[in-house]
Amino acid sequence: MFDEFIWRALLGGIGVAVVAGPLGCFVVWRRMAYFGDALAHGALLGVALGFALEMDLNASTLLTFVVFTLALAALQSQRRLASDTLLGILSHSALALGLVTISFMERLRVDLLGYLFGDILAVTRTDLLWIYGGGALILATTVALWSRLVSITVHEELAAAEGLPVGRLRLALMLLIALVIVVAMKIIGIVLITSLLIVPAAAARTFARSPEQMAVLASVLGALAVLGGVGASLRWDTPSGPSVVVAAAALFLLTLALEAGWRRLRHAMHPAAA
């Protein structure tokens, strides 16, 4: 009953949400939201370079992110400036470079909007290949490194004392997040990309009693947000990326309300225990 482009939109959106869930949890636990935003700013440079060099935009963005992340890791190891200062320098330099690069090109202003705000209904078969190929790689790596990544998140020094290569694991996590952003860029758009990482994870926190539960729940809530957002986009002809984010925010509010209601109910049943 649906047209093919809607199936592609749903498949792509759900694929992205599932992959973003576990990594979004790390973004929340490790307070990396600004890192996500900084990468998103850098994505503009990646897209502009892709246009300028006539290469695949996902590939050029991924390349930009890898350079960005390695530069950040190198600067962080100097320990002279705080991480958020370094991120600010890198992200705004990349954004500015991207804007300057774009100013040399006349033709692509319209195309660019799709990258800024996402165009889930224009997802192509190639995009799906990127999403499911990249997503499978991300999920497999995340699962393989899971316990070690949780360990460095609990306490980095403790993990280092117990022999974990903290620096390399941290870099791996940053690269995984970079890859998620590349994969999700076409769907949500670079302006709102961080929200797909943090909003479902934050909503999942309310009901989770283990890191694994929170990761799976974040994926499920993200997928629900995609379904809601794409549905709204089709019905009211709203831009797809922002619609997904609005749906995710609504889910977050709903979990808050559910938690408050649950507390009140427990209080009413066991007034002494609360």
Binding site: V28, V150, L158, A160, P211
Partner: protein, 267 residues
């Protein structure tokens, strides 16, 4: 490569260390951060089966020394030797687990262990925290949390336990219990214990050797001899010494009240 063996012959592989065997040793250790020297010329050794307490005022470099011994921090000079294959259980200072990370006590311990149920339960029973196994870390009190962290250090079956101010946020009765627990752990496991403290009177009873640190080693030795050391008195002042004299007196040594300065009110 700054970490190199002092002793070229490797210790034979054993599950338990022999009592008195050196576990970790630093020689002429210096650590600097920028222009300031955090530690210089530090010599320290921890042997199997002994409790070494590191005391010193705030900013003396106690945690820095521990981080260097753990290998988390690279020294700027000197040598650190660790027994090959040494398993360390570590309880860091002011450990804070992000409240957005939902973690039960059991999960915290299995993360340290890499799976396995029975060592986790045994470690929790040893510190008297078995009832907390399914509790979330965010629901624990300060004392409960410190016990759980102690269990986490034990679950790796360590030969050396390093505890950085393990009693902070714990009331005095709880502190005494924790020090008794540390002494008990040492005698049951035969492990070496390196303990950081800046409160002196409670920790003395459970200590074999005291290392008094203020960016360098001021004095070291048996608690009783450190107590009488002029360097120690200079560092901590007569008030702390007075308290300790009274404490030692209660254990039948020859410090008398007369030795405590008269203007110091006795506790």
């Amino acid at each position: 490569m700054r970490t190199m063996p002092l002793n070229p012959s490797p210790a034979p592989a054993r599950i338990r260390s022999a009592p008195g065997e050196a576990l970790v040793e630093a020689r002429g250790l210096a650590v600097r951060a920028g222009r300031s020297e955090l530690l210089s010329g530090v010599n320290i050794t921890v042997h199997a089966g002994e409790i070494v307490t590191l005391i010193g005022p705030n900013g003396a470099g106690k945690t820095t020394l521990v981080r260097a011994l753990l290998g988390v921090l690279a020294p700027s000079a000197g040598e650190i030797w660790r027994r090959p294959g040494l398993r360390i259980g570590y309880l860091p200072q002011r450990m804070h687990v992000e409240p957005t990370l939902p973690l039960t006590v059991r999960r915290l311990l299995t993360l340290a262990r890499g799976g396995g149920e029975s060592p986790v339960r045994a470690a929790l029973e040893e510190v008297g925290a078995e009832h907390l196994e399914r509790a979330l870390l965010s629901d624990l009190s300060g004392g409960e949390f410190q016990r759980v962290l102690m269990a986490r250090a034990l679950v790796r079956d360590p030969q050396l336990v390093i505890l950085d101010e393990p009693v902070q946020g714990v009331d005095v009765a709880g502190q005494l219990e924790l020090y008794e627990l540390i002494a008990h752990i040492r005698s049951v496991h035969g492990c070496g214990v390196l303990l950081i403290s800046h409160d002196l009177h409670l920790v003395m009873a459970a200590t074999d050797r005291v290392v008094c640190l203020n960016r360098h080693v001021c004095c070291t030795g048996h608690p009783e001899s450190v107590l009488r050391d002029p360097a120690y008195l200079e560092l901590f002042g007569p008030r702390a010494a007075g308290k300790l004299a009274v404490y030692a007196h209660a254990h039948g040594h020859d410090h008398t009240h007369a030795k405590a300065p008269a203007d110091v009110p006795l506790p």
